[in-house]
Structure formats: structure tokens, C-alpha cells
Symmetry: C2
Subunit: 273 residues, 2 copies
């Protein structure tokens, strides 16, 4: 079927009686070109959570600035932009953060049983000292006052906004050839103390950034046999939780399964665009 | 300065004594081409939170499948992939969700004061009925058992993973020309009941998806004068919370400010790549 949404608008809803023509500037381009779409999916599919392959090469300021610009243009509830970006380059600060990691990961190792208890200590879980730049992304929950559009009923929305900033940054970094690893094995209070983060600010993500010798083809936990990639088709429900596809939804389900197989076979980017 | 990380690795850390050559398949391409990088930033910068410009045109299954594929390839803590994708097309279900929105937004309207109380009812805050596809992205906190690598000390990491899936989907949708709006003015319990979501599953995001007559150039809350875009340079700290740039960090700070001005002037994509 022909795909709408490409180029000029296919209808003008403000010509009816219920809407006025918008006075805002609008984007005229809708759908990206095949090459542009391929690039976006390439970032999504080749992004890795990098732990152990960091090079000491510095990240040029212009590159780091662009990555931060991507983060700053993430969506945020009520446009509150609740994030700060705490850039850590000090070896001393990194060392203290690393100590907090070591303490927490030793505690974590005790929580696993059987085969996983044996494998856990062999996993690469951070690159705090090796990566040239560490970055803590936070959430200032009172950034724009106590009442925020869209946060009135689901208070955690502001923290979700900071997570969106993380994901924007992660994809932009991948496009720049910069690896990012999200380290989450800390006591958050230790992190807060080390970085001087006040009580009313939430540390959302502690990231390690740097160029890498290589990006792995697949997630390391998948390769290590720790956890398989789930079948996306099994995660789809329709209209109600637990409800599988109707006949009308069968095509979507098959295409999702086909896409996943194409990703697995490294065919997706070449075949879909 | 020359930028490392482009093309072939610039060093081989596994040739030292402390690492072994990885046996995993690796990606040989690091930095994307200028055109590819431009496309990634284009998605980041032109993505909008769409409320009121949805067209009734259906989203082709192949497009929706690709968008869902992007979501499923988000990062997740311990590779737990805690998300489900509940596709809502039923008019009846949408109507009940919309009723929950109406109830919540009436409550929210009472919370604002002064000018904001006057403006709030005029904001476009959802497109539940107009968009052809609604999508609830959830988090199954027990997906891979009680102990998860990377979630041992920060339990909320699994929910953050589902948020990363939202942001992947949002950017992929923008590239496909599909608008996405995140509706968060609900009582989550009402949403849970309407969609039959069990108590141990967290509804993370309720999204409206569809082609649009247009994407706005800027966020609607910015245009409406509700909230300004913050200066990114003011959100940067160095090594400690609240600490401004050292002399060595001045260049980064200036570049972040310059990037933001370039975005504001619609020069960023053309000038940076």
C-alpha cells in the first residue's frame, strides 16, 4: 500500500470547523529518506552497552558537545528539562566512584546462585577508570515548580524524562563512534556523596564514555549465554493484556518476527531500506 | 584535531598482558558517515510530542513492525528486556482510556494558579481517539527472576529500561514520519484496569501513534510561552555538583552553547555534518 505521511500533508484538518490553522512554524518534511531511516536504525541496532573496550583517546570537545546537545533535546514532561550533566574527568573522583562499584559488586556477587554465581565475577560490568569521560545524568524534581503539566498524576514522569536524555545521548554517541556504558551497580547514596549531589536531586544514570577498540556485534550477556534475546512477537498484546493477535493483527506479528530474524542475520539494515 | 575511533581500531588493547583477544564477532565500523550522523541528529531534533495533528490514515504493518523492532532493541539492565507492547486499536478501549484522561485532566486543571490556570485548559495534551494506534509499553519486574545483574542496588533500573524502549520507538517513528505523543495524565490504576494489566506489571508509557498533518518546529509548550528551552551550558557541572567549568572545560561549554544556538537557528544539521 502507499504510505502516507511522506512529503506534503495528505489532508488539512484545520480546514474543518473544529480547528484553526496553526500559526506555529511547521516541519514540511515528514518521512525521512531511505538512507536517513537506515542510519537511525543502524544507531539503534549497533548501539552497545560498553564495559571493557575503552581507548584512552580523549573525546574532542566538539563531539562531546554534540552528544550533550542530543541529550538536552530529549522529550521532557511539561518541558521541564529536569536534567543536569555532571562531567567527571578527575581521576580521583573516578577512583572513589570505582571503589563504590567494587563494594556493591562484591555484595551483588553473593546474591547469585549456581552457574550464575560462577559466571558473575567474570562479567565486564563497568569501565569507570578506563573511559576518559564519566557522566552522571540527574533529575531535579523541583526544576520548574511543584505542579508540572503531565506530572500531576504520575510523579515519576520527570525521572523518565532524564532516562530519555540518556537514550538520546547513547544513540548520538554510537553515531559518533563513541561507546557508552551505563553502570548501575552502586549504592546511590555513595554516588551522591562522592559527587556532592544534594538530597533533592536524583542521580539517574552514571555513564562511561570513550572511543573503543571495537563494538561487539551482540550484547555481551547474550554472547555469554547469560540471557537470550526474547522473541518480540511473544511480547505483543492486543487491546488487552495477555491477548494475542486477531486475524487482522497476524500480519503485524509476522512482520515483527521477520524483522527480528533479519536483525539476527544482519540483514535488516540492507533489506529494509 | 584528528578524531580517533574512525574506521580501523587505533590501538589493540588485547595485545597487552591484561586482556585476551575477544572471540566475539565485532563491528568494524565505528563512526558513522557525516550523512548518517546528520540523520540521527535530525531524528533527535525534529522529534515532537504530538498531541493534536493526527491523521486517520492507518500505519502500515511493515512500518509499525520496524518501530516496534527499534523498541525491542533498546538497552535493558541485565538484558532482561522487561517490556511488553500492548497495541490498542479498539475504539471502545480507547474511549475508556480517554475517559480516564478527562477525569485526570479536570483534576489537574485545579492544581494550577494564575495565568497557568487560564492557559492549561487550552493546551493540547493527548490524541487518544484521533490517533489510529495507541500503545502501552510496560515493565515486567520479574521477567528474568528476582536477582538481575545491574539491578541489585538500584531496583528501578528495569523501569528505566522500558523508558529507553520508548525513546528508541519515538526516534524510529519520527524517521518513519509517524508522530508519537506520550500521554501521562491518568490515574495509573484506571489505565491498569482498562487494559487488564496485572498488579505486578508497571504501565510505563501510554503512547498515541499516527501519521500527522505536520510536525511543529518547536515544542508546543515552548511556543505557548509555558516554559522556555533552558540553556544547556547552565546545566553542565564538572567533577562535583554545582562546579562550573575549569579553563580546560571552557571550550566544551562554549561548544554546547554554540550547538544550542545553531539548533535554535535551524543551522545545526547543515553546519555540523
Amino acid at each position: 500500500m502507499g504510505e502516507p505521511g511522506q512529503g506534503f500533508p495528505t489532508s488539512f484538518p484545520w480546514k474543518g470547523t473544529h480547528m484553526e490553522k496553526p500559526i506555529q512554524a511547521i516541519q514540511e518534511n515528514h518521512r525521512f529518506t531511505a538512507e536517513e531511516r537506515r542510519a537511525l536504525y543502524k544507531a539503534v541496532l549497533t548501539r552497545r552497552d560498553v564495559r571493557g573496550q575503552f581507548l584512552p583517546d580523549p573525546i574532542p570537545d566538539e563531539v562531546l558537545a554534540r552528544i550533550l546537545t542530543a541529550a538536552h533535546h530529549a522529550p521532557s514532561v511539561g518541558f521541564m528539562q529536569p536534567w543536569n550533566f555532571l562531567v567527571v574527568r578527575s581521576g580521583e573522583v573516578k577512583k572513589t566512584v570505582h571503589d563504590a562499584f567494587l563494594k556493591a559488586t562484591a555484595e551483588a556477587a553473593e546474591m547469585f546462585e549456581g552457574e550464575r554465581a560462577r559466571v558473575y565475577p567474570k562479567l565486564n560490568l563497568e569501565g569507570i577508570l578506563e573511559s576518559p569521560v564519566n557522566l552522571c545524568i540527574t533529575c531535579d524534581r523541583s526544576r520548574t515548580g511543584p505542579v508540572v503539566v503531565g506530572r500531576t498524576h504520575i510523579p515519576v514522569m520527570d525521572i523518565y524524562s532524564s532516562v530519555c536524555a540518556v537514550q538520546n545521548l547513547w544513540l548520538a554517541a554510537r553515531a559518533e563512534g563513541v561507546g557508552v556504558g551505563w553502570v548501575s551497580i552502586f549504592d546511590n547514596e555513595a554516588l551522591r556523596e562522592t559527587l556532592g549531589i544534594p538530597d533533592d536531586i536524583v542521580p539517574v544514570a552514571y555513564l562511561c564514555l570513550g572511543y573503543v577498540s571495537h563494538f561487539f556485534e551482540r550484547p555481551e550477556l547474550e554472547t555469554a549465554g547469560w540471557q537470550e534475546r526474547l522473541e518480540a512477537r511473544d511480547l505483543l498484546y492486543f487491546d488487552q493484556w495477555g491477548q494475542g493477535p486477531s486475524e487482522a493483527d497476524a500480519e503485524l506479528t509476522e512482520r515483527v518476527a521477520g524483522d527480528q530474524q533479519a536483525v539476527r542475520d544482519s540483514r535488516f539494515l540492507d533489506e529494509r531500506f
